[in-house]
């Protein structure tokens, strides 16, 4: 079913990229099915879709990481086979990956030249590259110091290096995979200005994202992928976020979270001047203090890497703090060791970790084995002689699967074989099972598809309404704003401001995330 697919006749010269009938299967899984996609030269073309919809596979085919099983790729109207990324670069295609492919101890210049050196001597290549970079910087607002060490640069600047790398290789078509995931709003704006400038110079840009706001803000056309197919390609001006969301999921989606005003009770958990200095001597947390009441969601906003993760892990008992205190109902929590996870659970603090792949789940374990992870020493799962009561654990797992609509509904399937959204549901179901007094949630919907996001958000709000205290860490400002009753913004390990959710807006939060408090005059 390819409704309204835009092919505009084969081999048209104004098309930078044309995919005709591209299919790709991995074993029994059809990752891409009969894809027809036409990207006009000099436009920004967005591709949206849920996780596992096939966006990344499609782009990997375009960049030569995978070979399509069927179909044809045309670049600038000419059929162009792309067996590897070298061929993609030769065809003028450049890619900026979600996770940067940079050598951190190298300078910007060295990174740009890496793999594109001409001749055996490095010096002439570097000199030529320096000139080229100057030109690119001037033309596209891509300012980076060519002699800076990449590891010292901010994430936004590192991304600019990636773009420079592609442009230095004379890319005319630029693919960006989730480029704003790690950027502050200001950095994202900067990126969009760069992209607009590139488009105006006649470059073609393919933007893969799950953020509908970005699609609306910057693209000229947008293709929606669902289950390996392109279900629709639309001019951006003629669509709306609600329509796109519906196309992605295949049904109507609630983008806002319905929630009643909070009715906060007494203080449940509080942090007092929490500080953390890491092994390298860097201060990761500086005197962080806050309190959270029963029936309240405190959202912790900030660009990734400003101390939120460390804060969450300290409260969860899996990272020691350097100084400060944390109190649960007035009684102190032990912050001295990294092995207090069991103690926290016993005291009613549940934790949905930021990284479910590394922490929240044991991937090779079956779903039922993961259903007792962290609760394996509780009496309800214990049989005689130190054995585990498998029937009890399985019953709990089956209950979770039913209650959270986890699919496929099989408790014998390995955690690794569930989709991101269902993995997250396994974790959240397990942590909510015991009606904890405090729920620590990190990135609850990272890599989770829209349908499941809606569900997870509703569960969090329901838990709040049952009088629990919730601390939510997320790099998605939308999510923080949609769920939180109060928002605490972190910058460089310190609290840069706390706002009531209804009294603030994205602009103010964005400034706070950059360490600027618009209300405090003279503050850094």
């Amino acid at each position: 079913m390819t409704v309204g697919t835009d092919t505009r006749g084969a081999g048209k010269p104004d098309l930078a990229i044309e995919l005709a009938g591209v299919s790709k299967s991995f074993g029994p899984v059809e990752a891409n099915r009969d894809i027809h996609l036409a990207v006009r030269r000099g436009t920004i073309h967005g591709i949206v879709g849920e996780n596992g919809a096939g966006k990344s596979t499609l782009m990997s085919i375009l960049y030569g990481f995978y070979q399509a099983d069927a179909g044809e790729i045309r670049v600038d109207g000419r059929p162009t086979p792309i067996p590897d990324s070298r061929a993609a670069i030769a065809a003028g295609i450049g890619m900026v990956h979600q996770h940067f492919m940079l050598v951190e101890p190298f300078s910007v210049l060295e990174n740009v030249v890496l793999g594109a050196e001409d001749g055996r001597l490095l010096r002439p290549s570097l000199a030529r590259a320096r000139d080229a970079l100057r030109r690119l910087e001037r033309d596209y607002e891509l300012e980076v110091d060519p002699d800076a060490i990449v590891g010292d640069l901010s994430v936004g600047a590192q991304q600019r290096v990636e773009i420079l790398k592609a442009l230095y290789r004379e890319a005319r078509i630029l693919i960006l995979d989730e480029p704003t995931g790690v950027l502050t709003p200001a950095e994202a704006d900067h990126l969009f200005r760069v992209l607009a400038a590139l488009r105006d110079e006649g470059k073609t840009i393919i933007l893969i994202t799950h953020k509908l706001r970005e699609i609306m803000a910057i693209t000229d056309a947008v293709s929606v992928m669902r289950r390996g197919e392109i279900v629709r390609t639309l001019p951006t001006a003629e669509t709306s976020p609600a329509e796109l969301a519906e196309l992605m999921v295949g049904r109507r989606v609630l983008l806002r979270v319905d929630k009643a005003p909070a009715r906060p009770g007494e203080v449940v958990i509080e942090a007092r001047r929490l500080s953390l200095t890491d092994a390298g001597g860097a201060r990761r947390l500086r005197d962080v203090s806050f309190e959270v009441r029963a029936g309240e969601i405190l959202g912790i906003a900030g660009v990734a890497g400003n101390g939120q993760s460390e804060l969450l892990e300290i409260l969860a008992g899996i990272r020691p703090a350097t100084s400060g205190a944390a109190l649960l109902r007035g009684r102190p929590l032990d912050l001295s060791r990294a092995t207090n996870g069991a103690d926290r659970r016993a005291r009613g603090i549940a934790h949905v970790p930021e990284d479910r792949h590394r922490r929240g789940l044991v991937m090779p374990f079956a779903a039922w084995e993961n259903a007792c992870l962290g609760y394996q020493d509780e009496a309800r799962f214990a049989a005689r002689f130190g054995l585990l009561d498998r029937d009890a654990i399985r019953a709990a797992a089956r209950a979770d699967i039913a209650r959270f609509d986890i699919r496929p509904p099989s408790c014998d399937l390995k955690a690794a074989n569930f989709s991101g959204g269902n993995q997250q549901k396994i974790v959240i179901a397990r942590e909510m099972d015991r009606e904890p007094d405090v729920l620590l949630v990190g990135q609850p919907t990272r890599g989770v598809d829209i349908g499941a996001i809606e569900f997870i958000h509703r569960q969090i709000v329901t838990l709040r309404d049952r009088g629990k205290a919730i601390i939510l860490v997320s790099v998605e400002l939308d999510e923080i704003q949609a769920l939180s009753d109060r928002i605490l913004v972190m910058f460089d390990g310190a609290v840069s401001g706390t706002r009531r959710a209804e009294e603030t807006d994205e602009r103010e939060l964005g400034l706070l995330m950059a360490g600027i408090d618009p209300k405090a005059k003279g503050a850094a």
């Binding site: 962290g374 214990a382 585990l388």
Partner: protein
Amino acid sequence: MRTSPPRWADLALIPAVNLLLALLVAGLVVILIGENPLRAVELLVTGSLGSSYGIGFTLYYATTFVFTGLSVAVAYHAGLFNIGSEGQAQLGCLGVTLVCLALDRTHWLLVLPAAILAGAAFGGAWAFLPGWLQAKRGSHVVITTIMFNFIASALIVYLLVNTLKVPGSMSPESRTFEAGAHLPFFHEMLAAIGIRVSRTPLNLSALIALLAAGLAWALIWRSRLGYEMRALGHSEPAAVYAGIDPARIIVIAMVISGALAGLMALNVIMGSQHRFVLDSVGGAGFVGIAVALMGRNHPAGILLAALLFGILYQGGSELAFEMPDISRDMIVVIQALVILFTGALENLTRAPIERLLARRGAG
């Protein structure tokens, strides 16, 4: 996107194909020497399984390998590569020997529990130190256990030469135990119920090995401790998240692993030699690594793999005897090929077989 192969392929097909490859290459070597490979296989099989004598020896060797294989497997499930089963087994031999020397004027039923405790305690203690160093100091257990093998070896030589040796004797070995510290042989036990088989060193500890395999299975897959060990083995961050103290689990897993290695002394020292000789362990700890690898670290697989290595050991001796051109070293080559193909090169066949099965599943 790759799905794992079905269980039967993982547990049976891939090891079988690897074993076949090993035998094919071994056959080529036999041809190069100028012998008939089919005749060699025949001798190997009849030598190990063709008589009650052969079977007895095969099972005797297999018993030792079950203990050392389980030792490697238990540590493996906690994410630890215990190369030190060899040294831990040597210490286990020391422990069992000391108990037997002290109690051999009583009855084996009394000596056995004490010997089990001593073998496990000495082997476990020898693994405790590397485990503790890994847990508290981050010294890699692979390195430390290798070093502990050398220390154990030197220690045992010292003790056999200077302390345990019978005064006036030229050989570095302990005195032979009195009958009170001899485990019953199978041929004796079977004779008691009227079944006559050849005299072989196969003894009661074969049953203890079966019991140990059962207990190891329950430990790894049914107990809370095993759950915590496997969680740690798969993902340390997840284990820490789940309130598991990695240091504690590492030490416990290593001690259990060392204890299992030490128990092989029941078979060799108390079961057959009835004294501690210099080469009592004889590389069984290293064979245990191959057995665990081939048995996919599952007790059932380890029983089968230990049996296979028992066949190779016993059949190999017969082969060397019958075909003078095939020396003792040749047998070691064949064993090495099996280890190479089933252990180190295991992924050689895994990927093609997985692809084949996936294609069949898709089509």
